[in-house]
């Protein structure tokens, strides 16, 4: 499952980063790293972008970016 399918209030554990390398680096640079636990918090009006909490920090991603993150149930 990819992160964009995570429902509000649910958590997941990041398993893989997909997509181009530059994107992977950007994602990992804000703490979206394999092994980290992530919770989905809020969704903007049209469902995009969304906010998540990862390791005590809040981040915001467009769904097209969340698609690049593989998660497993945690």
């Amino acid at each position: 499952m990819t992160l964009d399918h995570l429902q509000a209030g649910n958590r997941g554990k990041i398993t893989h980063l997909l997509g181009e390398e530059i994107m992977q680096i950007r994602l990992s640079s804000i703490g979206l790293i394999p092994g980290a636990t992530i919770t989905m918090d809020h969704t903007a009006l049209l469902g995009d972008p969304r906010t998540y909490t990862v390791q005590g920090t809040q981040v915001s991603l467009r769904n097209s970016e969340a698609e690049m993150i593989e998660i497993a149930a945690a």
């Binding site: 893989h16 980063l17 390398e21 530059i22 994107m23 992977q24 680096i25 950007r26 994602l27 990992s28 640079s29 804000i30 703490g31 790293i33 394999p34 092994g35 918090d41 809020h42 969704t43 903007a44 009006l45 049209l46 995009d48 972008p49 906010t51 909490t53 390791q55 005590g56 920090t57 809040q58 981040v59 915001s60 991603l61 467009r62 970016e65």
Partner: protein, 713 residues
Amino acid sequence: MSTNAPIRVALIGNPNTGRTTLFNQITGEKQATGNYARVTVSKSSQTVTHQGREIELIDLPGVYMLNSKTDEEKVTRDLLRNECPDIVINVINAGNLERNLMLTTQLIEMGLPRIFALNMKDEADSQGVRIHCDTLSSLLGGPVIEMVARDGMGIEALMDEIVRHSEKPSGTCPTVKIGYDSHLEEAIQRTSQHLTDLHPDSMSPEQSRWTAIKLLEGDTEILGDENDHTQLVENVQNERTTLQQQHNENSESLVLSGRYGFINGLLEEAREVETDTLMNRVNLTRAIDGVLLNRVLGLPLFLAFMWVMFETTFTLGTYPMDWIDAAVGALSDSLNGVLPESLFKDLLINGIIAGMGGTIIFLPNIVILFFFIALFSETGYMARGAILVDRMMHSFGLHGKAFIPMITGFGCNVPAIMATRTIENPKDRLVAILVNPFMSCSARLPVFVLFAGAFFAENAGSILFGVYMASISIALLTALVLSKTLIKGANTAPFLMELPPYRMPTWGSIYIHMGRSGAEFLKKVTGVILVGSIIIWFLQTFPQEIELSQDYESQISTLQESSENPAAHQEITQLKRAQEIEIQQGRYLGQVGDVIQPLFSPLGFDLNASIALLTGFVAKEVVVATFGVLYSHGDEANEESRGLRDSLASSMTPVTAIAFMIFTLLYVPCLATIAVLYKETQSLGWTTFSIGLSLTLAYTLALLVTTFGGGLL
């Protein structure tokens, strides 16, 4: 290191860790900070003295990694590698070690002498995070200083440490090794051995290990450096392939996991977290977000805040504006009384004071607007606003963060273009800058009010609304076209960003924002506006002697003497007006108007309209004043003047009036905006492009209205 040379210290850290705050605290400089991922675009350096030693501080852009994938990373890494600062200060947000230490692991591997500025201790405390500095210090191989940069706490200790550190003999920086997965570790050892063989004397063991890791990560820049060693490059490729096969994961991920493991191990030992406090804090931010980012309430609330911001900017702004107006008027009156009649007096009062006074009057608006922008950015709300409107903006090729600058453009394009600085990606920022002049600033409003009233008194409100709708549509469509054509890379930048927790803003940081934008504005007024006003005055005043077609003066005086009847009175007024028009046309400004008028005649604009547009180049407010002068209602003309409306209404058709409004809306940004455009893009090319684009659009659309509008009205 000789004891006289300044100690060269590089400040490095993730964005939003307080580097700029720290830099300002040490140097006393007032750069704007922001609780908002923001880039110190280029490095800046300042020299200070501490304990009699000169210390050169180099502020580097905020980075998360040292991979040279982005421009900021490149600037930072190049400086660290090529200019070898004596000490690196790694600014770390104590409240977010997991993420901040990722950069630290890379600094450690570069083997640079380092001091850790553990900033935002106050935030860590409030999150219930306790850090054992001694443990951290020995694990990271450098002194750790706790600080609250915002309040100046820890600055002295940091400066002392810098001096103490510089007195140590070089090369005493402890080696810290970050361990990797065993396969990767072996590959690193083999590659690093290979490197040592290739560069026998020039590489320290640390350097060759670092280079080996970078090669295995597939760092294109380092691979490029080693391009000549084909055998090495080939080996590295093989190692990478093997690792991929062994782990079903590429080597970059393996390196990341290794660093992540190091960080986790370190945190186990050096940090204690009262989980309750941390969760309370996260939950508080989440709870506030529950309202402010609410799917239903979020956007209306955001728009309401924006409305309050503009409403306050303009209503509260009117009081100081009146004071400034009165002060400028008083100054002008008193000079008028004191100075003898002369050209110099005319220049001073009708050129310089009138021109600068007319512009300086916007200072209160700018300061108030930036108060709100600072408030939103310092509390952390600005980043939320970007989330709320991103979807909509994105479909037009704009970044969510471009929203505030666009709305600000309705007030004045100058601070609006300055406000695009919050957009990180240079291409996104360029699009946001280039469309901004199409947002109808308040200086254009008097023109629209005058024209709507003169030609469409019945529907003036709808006409105004229409003009604003046109303004937004043209800006959005331009953004769409630009991001699809000329500025291709725009709008591809990821949106992903870290959301700062909600913070109480401090007066100090808000004051810096307001003060700086105010000061920049004043600098502009004393620069470009001053020069512009003098030029326009000159063009309007010279040549002094104009040959008139008839002797108006004597005709007028004969009439005045002869009778008192109303008909004569009217005749006098007409004569005066004809005389004034002829004089204006004789001046250089009128002559230039004559030259450009043929250009405007396809649009149906007469000589007066052409001259008015020409002067509007300095500042759009001037358009109305120019009409006033040209139609001889004196300088006192304003958009409410009846007489001016009537004269206008008889001088062009309603269709031409619409064309004129469209033209005014779109044509060349005013002088001040052009100056800011240039300052912010740092490119003569894009500035010229912006002027060209606006002229072309203005002309084409006005021509379309003139040609086809007749049928519609």
